[in-house]
Amino acid sequence: MTSPGDSGMRETWPLWEVFVRASRGLSHVHAGSLHAPDEIMAVRNARDLYTRRAEGVSVWVVRAAAITASDPDAKDSFFESPQGKEYRHATYYTESDAVPHL
């Protein structure tokens, strides 16, 4: 499997994935990717590219090559298994009147 960060040496700078947290209390969400020579410049480039319109209060970057991803070709065995297994959702319990705030 080709690594997500492998550019086939066409790029001189490695690829980085950018995660932006919109505000305190929320999770960092994948915003996109960019090229940068190192992690310090990657954070700065992320600030310039992905927080221009006040989208974030925090930025994470990670080298795309460092991400291990699931295999797109294996998506049947990976992700279709839960279908038909509704018992995995806890929807069959009845709520007790005696327990508030449930």
């Binding site: 090229h35 310090i40 700065r44 989208e55």
Partner: protein, 276 residues
Amino acid sequence: MSHSTNHIASTAITPESIAQSLASSSDLPDVAVATYALGLGDDALVLAQRLGEWIARAPELEEDVALGNIGLDQLGHARSFLTYAGSAFGKTEDELAYFRDEPEFLNHQLFEQPNGDFAQTIAKQMIASVYFVALYRGLAASNDAMLAAIAAKAAKEVDYHLDHCVQWVKRLGLGTAESNRRMQRGLEVMWAFADELFRSDAPTDSLVALGIAVSPSSLRPAFDALVPPLIVASGLTVPVTTFTRGGGRAGLHSESLGPLLAEMQVLARAHPGASW
């Protein structure tokens, strides 16, 4: 790109809000303050125009955006200063930017210098940013409320510009033999223009005495404390200059400003009052 844009209720000072507040104010700047603001505005405007020349030509797409961001920040500073300056002369920011000729521009000569290669641009921008950081911090405490407000907003932005330049000086200085050579050359080319930034002149001195302007010579220690150590730590040599350039505040310019203004002004002069 995320579309979860936070539309912050903006209280930030803008050229538009400045124009609006001046339109209903009887407290306009006098000619001395307006001329000081004009010099500051021209510094930012001319440097922004130079940075704009990098658009679509920077070494990498990401750097293209970074230089564009810095240029647009500076264009914002220029618009604010020129709007304020123009209120004393009955002129708009556009009239000042597009319908003055070369000797009427009061920018320091450093800012009009050609971009050269990327290292040369970084050298110029680094020197400029060190100057702006010290200047705007001082000016944020000005007795002139409008200058103080413009400077307080600009100070946060130039902090980031300086950081960006410092990162690149280090990387080019400590990178390859070629990047080191180019960074050194960039510093050599720009060094003769640094001294002018810290030179006092009589009109500024009289505003310094009133607590309105920042004394240019008072900014020199900040430059000396930061720049030579950065150059040395980046594997470079502090240039030695036997002569320095200057005279921008008096309207004296190098041969580079004319072509820059011609390009910046041609559309507005060919079609006065045009809008889209």
